[in-house]
């Protein structure tokens, strides 16, 4: 198990350095695919080993970490495969240095993996900050003024947020220190062990700061302002990883502190705050989806909305905690698929304005069919995975002390569905004003449609049933969070 943990962080680190030295892009892509496979196999081997209840060192693995790591690994593999035709197609005149893509992507993977294996809150913080630094050059891959603006906002807003999260981490250190100056340190298990005796005033302050800090990176409204820019300006495989994998890593940071609050008997305080930010994100996300003209921004705002769904699920607590974690899985898979497919549309039409894309069903038959499925899935319609997780959060809310929250939740989700379907479906199925401008189907490369197809298939499976292994992992993870 230790070997696998070392591999998921070490392999991408070494590969990033190797890829930095290797200049030809095809060679770099070989390193990328190879590392993604090693990462996937290492992660899969962790599923077969028994996860220890506690780990003494800086790094270790628990159910929550494994859940996020598995998503990172799977999505990274999909994005790597997708990157092969993406980088080799030769339409990268705008990118000053395509050979920077692969090293940064691998460094990004190493940082995200480190987040999931961190068993120390300070190390976790450093890893989250490292994800920001590794991904910033990727957002600025195309040297356009727009992507520069997005990168600057991302760097500055997230760095300030992360600095506040560090202050929150120190506050937790204060909360765990006794009057005589005895402190357990910032190891997650050490803090959890002394949780009942934490100083509540400092714990509250710590959670507020961490919620604002990591919440910025999660994209919870009103701290989400950088997210639509960064996620829409980045190259499509990077957008898929930012929305599908990175948001979960930041969420994991918040969940570590939430678990401390639960263990300290202070869950109600944290849940109230999560509900407020969750509903704020739902409202902002849904409102921005309506009448959205840019389809990549549409997907980015949908991430804000879905992070709201997850925060509401955690805030409702009880059985909804399981639903929230299941929604983490569903959202990651389908959002990554959507961004990859949006990349195919962008390739074919050269614009991100939804109104300029018409009749994609003819030009990109496979991508359009998959996009139709994915649009219904992310909108929360049956029989797809997000429907199951959203319903379980809804039912949790209806059984709770404030059923009206459940009603509000469903109403906002309905609005979001209208926003997504109203923008995406006309792109695919309506003909443009010029009629048959381009009736010949374009060529769709296998490697550009297979990864999103597999991700979409997984979401269909999750809509029908949750495999026993995943179910057990989700239950173990929910147990850490008191659900």
């Amino acid at each position: 198990m230790t070997l696998a943990i070392l591999l998921v962080v070490g392999a991408p680190t070494i590969a990033a350095l190797a890829a930095w030295r290797l200049r030809p892009v095809p060679l770099q892509l070989g390193v990328l695919i190879g590392t993604a496979m090693v990462h996937l196999v290492s992660t899969a081997s962790l599923w077969r080993s028994d996860l220890p209840a506690t780990s003494a060192g800086l790094i270790g693995m628990d159910a929550l970490g494994l859940l996020v790591l598995s998503l990172v690994s799977l999505l990274f593999f999909a994005a790597s495969v997708y990157s092969v035709p993406y980088l080799l197609d030769g339409t990268h005149d705008e990118a000053a240095a395509p050979q920077r893509f692969v090293p940064c992507l691998l460094a990004f993977l190493a940082a995200m993996s480190l987040v999931t294996v961190s068993r120390n809150l300070a190390l976790l913080w450093a890893a989250v900050e490292a994800t920001t630094l590794a991904s910033a050059p990727l957002i600025y891959f195309y040297r356009r003024p727009g992507s520069l603006e997005a990168t600057w906002k991302y760097l500055l807003i997230c760095s300030v947020g992360i600095a506040l999260a560090l202050l929150g981490t120190f506050f937790l250190g204060v909360a765990s220190t006794t009057a005589t100056g005895q402190a357990p340190g910032l190891g997650i298990d050490d803090v959890l062990a002394v949780a009942p005796s934490l100083n509540h005033r400092w714990l509250h302050a710590a959670f507020v700061l961490v919620l604002v800090g990591y919440g910025t990176k999660i994209g919870l409204a009103p701290l989400h302002t950088w997210l639509p820019d960064a996620h829409s300006q980045a190259p499509s495989p990077v957008s898929a990883l930012l929305s599908g994998a990175l948001l979960n890593c930041a969420l994991l940071g918040l969940l570590r502190f939430y678990a401390v609050c639960v263990a300290a008997g202070d869950a109600a305080f944290a849940q109230r705050l999560l509900l407020v930010l969750g509903f704020a994100s739902l409202l902002v996300g849904a409102a921005s989806l309506l009448g959205q003209r840019d389809y990549k921004r549409l997907l980015a705002y949908s991430s804000v909305e879905n992070m709201g769904v997850i925060a509401v699920g955690l805030g409702v607590a009880g059985t909804a905690t399981y639903g929230a974690l299941l929604h983490v899985v569903n959202h990651s898979l389908i959002k990554a698929a959507l961004f990859l497919l949006a990349g195919n549309v962008l390739r074919a039409y050269g614009t991100t304005t939804a109104a300029d894309v018409r009749g994609a069903r003819r030009r990109l038959p496979v991508s359009a069919a998959l996009l139709t499925v994915a649009a219904f899935a992310i909108g929360g319609s049956p029989p797809f995975g997000p429907f199951v997780s959203e319903i379980s959060i809804f039912l949790g809310a209806m059984r709770g002390s404030a059923p009206w929250l459940g009603v509000l939740f469903i109403v906002i989700l309905g609005v979001a569905f209208v926003g997504i379907a109203g923008t995406l479906l006309p792109m695919l199925h309506s003909e443009g004003p010029t009629g048959a401008a381009d009736p010949t189907p374009g060529t769709e490369r296998l490697l550009a449609v297979a990864p999103p197809a597999v991700l979409a298939l997984l979401v269909v499976v999750l809509g029908v049933y949750v495999p026993a292994g995943l179910d057990r992992l989700l239950r173990d993870a929910a147990a850490v969070l008191g659900g």
Partner: protein, 218 residues
């Protein structure tokens, strides 16, 4: 020795106030270097305060790291950006400097009030430690929000980080000091990446005014 720590911490607040009040960009960056010098001296002072023994290797490394990175490397990096990017030399506040100074004074008052309500559960070397940390966090945040120049925003981020760092020093007796060392490294890399971004901003737009970075909207 506690009086020395008190002096350094009050100086930190005063320099923070000066950064909000000054109208010169280079002066703002130099002031951040002064904060770096103070932060280099602070770990040693706090160590001596708590027991009057010579500083351990860890603390010496921390002091050296803080001084090297925050007083030398980062200010030089930023001053070079100002020189080479040929930027305007004013800080270009969103509000008038008078309002800025008033706001900054209120933030410092807020910091002292916060520190008085959130009493530390254990004794620390100086009463001013928490107020100084809070004041710098708030002043840094203010600089990030209320300035248009990209460099001033980076300096604001540094001031914020300095506040967090001071707070971390208060915990140094309880928590492993490796944490702060990693923080230093992190800030260095962060500012380095931001410095690259600044150079691109000035090349792309001929200036570093972040108002140009406002085209992405609905």
């Amino acid at each position: 020795m506690s009086s020395v720590a008190d002096f350094l911490l009050s100086a930190l607040i005063v320099v923070g106030l000066y950064m909000v009040a000054t109208s010169r960009l280079a002066a703002c960056v130099r002031a951040s270097a002064v904060q770096g010098i103070i932060l280099g001296a602070l770990p040693l002072t706090l160590e001596w305060t708590s027991g009057f023994h010579p500083p351990s290797v860890h603390v010496a490394l921390l002091a050296l790291g803080a001084f090297g990175i925050k007083a030398v490397v980062i200010p030089r990096l930023l001053l070079r950006s100002i020189r080479e990017a040929g930027v305007r030399r004013e800080v270009e506040p969103m509000t008038s400097l008078h309002v800025s100074i008033l706001g900054a004074a209120l933030l410092v008052a807020l910091a002292f009030w916060l520190a008085s309500t959130m009493a530390l559960p254990f004794p620390v070397a100086s009463r001013l430690l928490v107020p100084a940390a809070m004041a710098n966090v708030l002043l840094g945040f203010f600089l990030v929000v209320a300035r248009r120049q990209a460099i001033t925003q980076v300096v604001g981020y540094l001031v914020l980080e300095n506040g967090v760092f001071v707070f971390g020093l208060g915990l140094a007796a309880q928590q492993p000091i490796v944490v702060e060392l990693s923080v230093l490294l992190d800030v260095l890399v962060g500012v380095f990446v931001m410095g690259i971004a600044i150079n691109h901003i000035s090349q792309t737009f001929d200036h570093m005014d972040t108002r140009a970075l406002a085209s992405l909207r609905e």
